[in-house]
């Protein structure tokens, strides 16, 4: 048996929830699918307050933003159907999705699809990098802030981007000792405000330094770090050993484009956006008509931009299905302006560069 649905949104993180809200506001029926027991994506583990502007809930803690966004979609119980604990395992070119919920396998025929699957944490190559106790920084954040469990007692953070810095601070809030934050680049990657907070608490942030190997039998017990020269080569004799029971890897995210690849959208490698990303129109439609992508799945940015992209995509997809939001034009102008503002300034440079590379592709096709 195949179930028929109009608009299916895969992923109920910031982008998917915002897309669902806008589509519902336009009068469009939505099926929202998420593989986790809780909706909200990675917002549910963010205990820090967001930057940006009021429109993207600045000065609000991430988990409170998640509650707001979930409340937003729950205002439309007749329009928004939610399947949680459900993993989309297949996406086919005739817009058929296959979904696994526990032992129940369902097939859904959609008219339009929004892929808002988010991102996954990158791994780093070093000796014994597979030992238990070596975690993605986001994993540690989930474990601590959602489930109230510490990953260990003594930890080293690898990577000083915003995730590395914020999670280090949150580890300390949970009572974990952060022995050091190490960074392979010459400069700290994240915002100065986060780095200063850590330094005030006495945490060393060591630049031009990387992890050489992990040591341990069944779990990580020690790590060895090493300093790097200008050419990113190891400097012999600079090895340092730390006794740890956990290591956090915070070296960036990759867009989760597996489903987009499966349905056959055109993807392009753009390093600045985290890896393979879908080629999109300005309404976030992929090269397959009626299939959209937004949020981190379409390129790594902040949760704030993921929300705005979600709103835009929700509006566009609903319009495609004949449901035009009463304030469609004004909203689109305002949302695009919000995105421009979020991507302005020195920290948006990488994203602007990445998007410019994609721009070139669109002109060709």
């Amino acid at each position: 048996m195949i179930l028929n649905r109009d608009l299916v949104i895969i992923g109920a993180g910031p982008s998917g929830l915002c897309a669902a809200k806008m589509a519902a506001e336009a009068g469009q029926k939505v099926l929202l699918i998420d593989r986790n027991p809780q909706l909200g994506g990675q917002l549910i583990k963010q205990t820090h307050m967001f930057f940006g502007s009021e429109k993207q809930y600045a000065k609000t803690r991430g988990f409170d933003i998640a509650k707001k966004l979930i409340d937003d979609v729950k205002k439309y119980p007749d329009l928004v159907e939610i399947w949680d604990n459900s993993t989309v395992v297949g996406l086919y070119s005739d817009k058929v999705l296959t979904v696994l919920t526990g032992e129940t396998y369902r097939k859904v025929q959609a008219k339009a699809i929004i892929v808002a699957t988010g991102a996954s944490e990158k791994v780093l190559a070093f000796e014994n990098n597979d030992l238990p106790g070596i975690y993605g920084a986001g994993a540690v954040q989930t474990l601590m802030n959602v489930y109230g469990v510490k990953p260990g007692e003594k930890i080293v953070m690898v990577g000083s981007g915003n995730i590395g810095l914020i999670v280090s601070y949150q580890l300390m809030q949970a009572g974990v000792k952060v022995l050091a934050v190490i960074e392979a680049a010459k400069v700290i990657g994240g915002y100065k405000v986060h780095a200063s907070k850590l330094r005030r608490l006495g945490v060393d942030i060591i630049t031009s330094c990387t992890i050489k190997k992990a040591i341990g039998k069944d779990k990580v017990e020690k790590i060895v770090t090493v300093r790097l020269n200008e050419k990113w080569e190891e400097i012999p004799g600079t090895e340092k050993e730390y006794e740890v029971d956990a290591v956090c890897i915070a070296v960036g995210l990759s867009p989760l484009t597996n489903l987009l690849a499966m349905i056959g959208c055109e993807l392009k490698y753009v390093g600045e956006l985290g890896g393979l990303v879908p080629v999109l129109s300005k309404d976030y439609e992929t090269t397959i008509e009626g299939v959209y992508a937004c949020g981190d799945a379409s390129g790594i940015e902040e949760a704030s931009s993921a929300m705005v992209e979600g709103y835009i995509t929700g509006l566009a997809a609903a319009k495609k299905l004949g449901k035009v939001h009463p304030q469609y034009d004004e909203l689109m102008v305002d949302l695009r302006k919000q995105l421009d503002i979020l991507r302005s300034g020195p920290f948006g440079e990488k994203i602007r560069k990445g998007l410019a590379k994609l721009e070139g592709v669109k002109e060709v096709c």
Binding site: S120, E121, G133
Partner: protein
């Protein structure tokens, strides 16, 4: 115990229902709202499975259902993503040491 007791922002002091389960035959417990992975982590368990070829120990890596590093055998079903599967009373959780074998649907 790896449970956080005091936290400046989050409140973990609320009493939660105890959920009993077995880990490799041993009777243990976690709390309502735990995933299998968080309950095991709280008990200090880090090894969830072993790698298929070289039999190296594996723990979870991403905790959001993506990396497949947390697969375990749960109630006889292999390859269960324990990081996104909520703990239930009486669950039988086992370390997975192979690719997983065919099982009968209950």
């Amino acid at each position: 115990m790896m449970r956080i007791k005091e936290h400046p922002i989050l409140d973990f002091s609320k009493e939660r229902k105890i959920i009993r389960f077995t880990f490799n035959g041993q009777e243990v417990y976690g709390y309502e709202g735990d995933t299998i992975a968080s309950a095991l982590s709280a008990l200090g368990v880090k090894e969830f499975s072993v790698s298929i070829k070289h039999k190296r120990p594996r723990g979870f890596y991403c905790a959001i259902g993506n990396c497949s590093s947390c697969h375990m055998i749960v109630d006889g079903v292999p390859n269960v993503k324990t990081c996104i599967t909520l703990l239930k009373e009486g669950m039988k959780v086992e370390t997975q040491t192979n690719k997983g074998e065919l099982y009968d649907l209950k």
